[in-house]
């Protein structure tokens, strides 16, 4: 049961990450400002790539930094990698071992760009190649599916973003995070019971937008890795452009739809899915109007800032 125990470790590892890395994130933010960084180039794979998707939205909206997600094959298979001058080059990898992510950091450093590794192993090849390291400190990961290492990557990204905005209220919110995760883990029995209905589901789509576009990707990846369900993630905006055609009566749609800047858009898609296509919804939200559309509502316990 290493998977379940690693899930339950999250409040403790998030709390430790906040306490040990907050000041370090502040120092890194200062260096990034001093070097006049204007864009971010980010390389990652799998679950870490989903954390990178969160970084794309967070750095874009909170720090006004455009984020390009790397195509690693441009560094490993094609002849000439992009020119990374003036970018902050970020590599995210739990183990810090992934050769193609290391190759992006190595190339960034060779070109004189600023480099940052976000990793769970500060002695890994990725950490050794990078100028700066943000250690997620999640402890050993034994389960094959990443859980605590993903959420610590998200917090590491949020710490760096908050440090770059210099807004102390953001740190107050992040400090509450371990407690909020603890509360959510208290829903285990409810969720276990709700999950029974989906025992023989063999395909579904997963919807999210904005900051939670990354959540949709990670939810879909976990379903594929652990339950072999063909689960495809979408933004609510993209799903309307063609893919909605696959939704027939009873087709399961999983949505992460908390209150926030994009909730009108997501809720309007959920209405269309139920009323015009007869989709069945599983909704994770703190928004009553999103939850009431769901066959299986999974209410978040607290009002959370998006």
């Amino acid at each position: 049961m290493s998977l379940r125990s690693e899930i339950l470790e999250q409040p403790a590892v998030l709390d430790r990450l906040f306490r040990t890395q907050k000041d370090h994130a502040g120092e890194m933010a200062q260096t990034i400002r001093d070097r006049g960084v204007r864009s971010i180039f980010l390389a990652a794979r799998g679950t870490s790539d989903n954390a990178g998707l969160y970084a794309k939205y967070l750095f874009g909206s909170m720090n006004r930094l455009p984020v390009a997600l790397a195509a690693p094959s441009l560094f490993t298979a094609y002849e000439t990698p992009p020119n990374l001058e003036g970018h902050l080059v970020v590599g995210i990898s739990q183990s810090g071992q992934s050769p193609d992510i290391v190759s992006v950091i190595t190339e960034g450093r060779r070109q004189g760009a600023m480099t940052l590794a976000i990793t769970n192993d500060p002695s890994s090849p990725l950490a050794k190649q990078a100028e700066m390291v943000l250690d997620t400190g999640a402890g050993p990961e034994k389960a094959i599916a990443a859980t605590k290492t993903y959420t610590t990557q998200l917090l590491a990204i949020a710490l760096l973003s908050a440090a770059m905005t210099d807004d102390p209220r953001l740190f107050e919110v992040l400090e509450r995070l371990p407690h909020l995760v603890e509360e959510t883990l208290g829903l285990e029995t409810t969720i276990k019971s709700a999950a029974q209905r989906y025992r023989y589901m063999n395909q579904c789509v997963v919807i999210g937008r904005g900051y939670n576009y990354a959540t949709a990707f990670e939810w879909a990846l976990k379903l594929k890795e652990m339950t072999y369900v063909v689960a495809e993630p979408y933004s609510s905006a993209d799903f309307l452009h063609g893919p909605i055609a696959i939704i027939s009566h009873g087709f399961p749609v999983l949505a992460v739809a908390p209150q926030g800047a994009v909730s009108d858009n997501v809720n309007s898609l959920l209405s269309i899915l139920v009323e015009e296509h007869g989709a069945e919804l599983v909704v994770v939200s703190n928004d009553p109007s999103a939850l009431e559309r769901a066959t299986t509502p999974l209410p978040l316990p607290t009002d959370l800032p998006e």
Copy 2:
């Protein structure tokens, strides 16, 4: 039958695009160089977003320009969009009407960045907002599924990339394109017959990498829009990190795997899929070693540069 007739129009519209826009692409390339553009920020949705994925690889490898694919919600839903100074901001839209793509170009222009619209309608809102316009000139699109407008977007991107490299051999290759498409369309009868086997397929994955990562996305989108098959696109590198778990005996995997810089990597995944997971392969390729692994090989008629 507007869909089939639009597919068959491709050699003619590609030939016209090459002839009418080649010099214009050269002028734009000169302007882009003069303005010292160092990165690209690209906004698109659906099929046009798949063309954007091709642009990410092509501009990255041929022109060494990092490409960030825009998150349109950062411009429409969240408060502060990214700072686009120094970027070339590109919007791709067949109709040029998509409000969120127009809003990215409008914001880029407001910030003083260079802006380019790639569109099939030079009188559209997108074209009017942009400083430069590349008109794909594909003629009216009546079918709901985009075909000729996608391939003309790809050629428009390739023309601009070739013009920025100043390598005349690239134009020689692009000039052959209408003829090569004509040859491929000659496979219609063979493909129609091969497709019968998949009449009751209800899910599949689609694999591509490098320049053809975009092809995998577009192939999957076409299957969803037109046949309601749950088809999920993957790079061969990402598919190994978790999602491969969904592949059981006989699971259909569609792959676009032509000869090129990434073919060793793609072929090695195809071997694993067949030998260790019993997947059934449909392979589009000009590479005999990829084709021989397939239950349904779809050989490309000619040796093509990747």
